[in-house]
Amino acid sequence: MSGLLDPFGLLRDAAWGAERFGRSLIGQERIRLAVTGLTRAGKTVFLTSLLANLLAAGRGRRTLPALEELAGKRLRAVRPAPAGVEGLPRFDVAAHLAALAADPPAWPARTEDLSTLELVLELDRQSMLGGLLGTRTVTLELLDYPGEWLLDLPMLGDDYARWSAATLERLRRGRRAEAAAEFLAFVDALPPGAPAEDSLARRGFALYRDTLRACRDRLGFRFLQPGRLLNPGPRGETPLLWFFPLPQPARGGLATLLAERHHAYVEAQRRDFFEPYFRRFERQAVLVDVLGALHAGRDAFEDTAEALAAIAAALRYGGGWLDWLTGTGVDRVAFVATKADHVPARQRDALAALLGHLVAAPQGRATGAGVTTSVHALASIRCTEDDVATLDGRPVAAVRGLLLENGRSAKVYPGEIPLRPPDPGFWDHGFFEMPEFQPPKLDPAGGSGVPHLGLDTLLAALIGDVL
């Protein structure tokens, strides 16, 4: 119903739907692929691999067999769309590839800002008569952004009081409480009706920021709001960010000031990030580091599921009558367990099955709106090979790769991956931090693509129908 309250948004949706329809008629389709993923899920590496492999496939290399099978021999060329007048930086595939191929190699750093790239796929038409009309193009729009910002999406529908209550309730739960002890003591000790004193606001903000950082870096939690507090972007910390949750009901000058900042922050995120990039998209890839969540412990695992459900609840998947009327809505959504090369081949199905349970709520919501969904296990860049290790006198399937930190060869036994959310006894073995592996030997120019696991199947599921 929010559409009715925003007639201009509705008009823009209608114009967008009409443009989409017109483009499909003349064979000049545009597909916006929203790559959503929590922080450290591997979005930047995924985009790098996707672009490098598609560009290589356009040069006639067989880097994406499943996609090639769908497209027949009709894919004639793939090229980045020429730059127009965009105000955003371009996603620098060449630089990322060069860093991965360098000696010593480097994985892309934490993404600090938005960047975009459009890829034009030039295809022959399918029918004999269509051939007379010449080639058609599919333009793929891609966006890279800091994963932390995605968690602001569920904030859009909440006011300050509701957000405060929910956030504090989460902070007081389980292992977060120990990281948040100092902040919780601070807010609990604040007198009711505290004045709008800048020093109080700054102190509370600093404590809250440190809490969120500890939760993210030390405990592996992902459902941390606001996202810009953890990753402020190129402009750094602005007074807009200086707010934190207060126990409710709160009154007084400080509560008013924080509520004002919260409101301004949410509006700024809506205007600058979500409206332009996440209001309308046709395809979505939801990247989840299932293995990382599993190894970070029960609380982090459940937190990841909660964060994914909250994000999905805030996204528009279409299916409503307004969406039908304006021609907007999502066509396909793929849920992807990344870093699948960290488990041996026979456990990858289990990884996908576990992800299926983890995203049951978002998947149900998307399917209910008539969206085609699928679940995949993927390694954007394959860094390991399967091997056998002997543990406690028993042979177990493991993976072998070179460690990034010292270049030594190591076998990793990732543990048994459960097919469904594990029983409490599973978590007894303690926490485990998966080591970082060196990427394999790569062509710095990306000429022959990037070794991957399952990227072709994923792309076939996401965009195969438009090829």
Partner: protein, 301 residues
């Protein structure tokens, strides 16, 4: 060998917790994993045929087969009947049928060659986009052989070491051709302006414009060494479809502006015609440009 974290499960049960097992350190650092990408990619099933017969395609195919096949059978029967009447009648009829068929075949062959020459442009452009130097060179050589302006470039094309170099070598010749295409476009524009101003009906305007447009496209194609037949011309014309929308939008704006500026009744009468003529002329200029772009062996940009 070192384990992290220390094993916690009893030896009898399967190991539960994840571990990292460092391998023996060697004197020289181990090489990075090399999956020999491309070679390692498993071959997939043979791709589906890239061309499919659509419903309309089958319909036309069936009609052509019925028309052509029945006509051929009819002709053969007729020739046989004529031979029954007498050898002279028989040979004369066979001669007529054979000549007719030869002419038909010759026409079809030329059409196919014309279409193939347009496809060669697509092949060359796609080779330039892919960065496939060998194919781009072969196509550029074939093209230079058919265009007078580019003929002296052939030795230099053979020696080109990179796609960028090849592109730079072809650029001046292409610029000359584009200038000539623009000249052809201006001529066509002047003619269509004049014809529109004096022609008695809008229907005739459209007919003349269409004929002049097709002729212009063929002239521009000939400049680029192409000899498009009917199918080739259609294939070239469809590339202007996209631009037609833009042209139509500016038409409306120019027409409205012209009518708004001239409010005098007499002037209005004349201006309406002049504006229509101006629109037709601008369409010709645009058509020449678009046709030249469609015939370029090197992709723009």
């Amino acid at each position: 060998m070192s384990d992290r974290p220390p094993p916690s499960s009893p030896p009898a049960s399967p190991p539960v917790g994840p571990r990292v097992i460092l391998e023996e350190e060697t004197r020289s650092p181990p090489p990075r994993l090399d999956f020999e990408w491309e070679q390692a990619v498993v071959p997939v099933a043979a791709p589906r045929p890239s061309v499919r017969w659509s419903g309309i395609g089958r319909l036309f195919g069936g009609l052509a087969l019925l028309g052509g096949g029945l006509a051929a059978l009819d002709a053969a029967n007729f020739v046989a009947d004529q031979f029954a009447r007498g050898p002279l009648q028989g040979w004369a009829t066979l001669g007529v049928v054979a000549s007719g068929l030869a002419l038909l075949g010759g026409g079809a062959w030329r059409e196919l060659r014309g279409l193939a020459s347009i496809r060669a442009v697509d092949r060359a452009r796609s080779a330039f986009l892919r960065g496939d130097l060998a194919t781009a060179k072969a196509e550029a050589l074939r093209w230079a052989g058919s265009v007078q302006e580019a003929a002296p470039l052939q030795p230099a094309i053979r020696n080109a070491a990179s796609i960028e170099e090849l592109r730079a070598l072809l650029q001046p010749a292409l610029a000359t051709l584009e200038a000539r295409a623009a000249l052809l476009g201006r001529n066509a524009a002047v003619q269509s302006f004049a014809v529109t101003a004096i022609s008695p009906s809008p229907g005739l305007d459209a007919l003349i414009f269409a004929w002049r447009g097709v002729r212009l496209v063929r002239q521009v194609a000939a400049l680029h060494g192409l000899r498009p037949g009917l199918a080739g011309t259609l294939s070239l014309l469809r590339r202007t479809l996209l631009d037609a929308a833009t042209v139509a939008a500016t038409d409306v704006a120019v027409d409205a502006a012209a009518r708004a500026l001239l409010s005098n009744r007499l002037l209005e009468q004349f201006a309406g015609e002049a504006a229509a003529g101006a629109v037709a002329a601008r369409r010709m200029l645009r058509l020449a440009k678009v046709a030249a772009e469609a015939c370029r062996v090197v992709p723009p940009g």
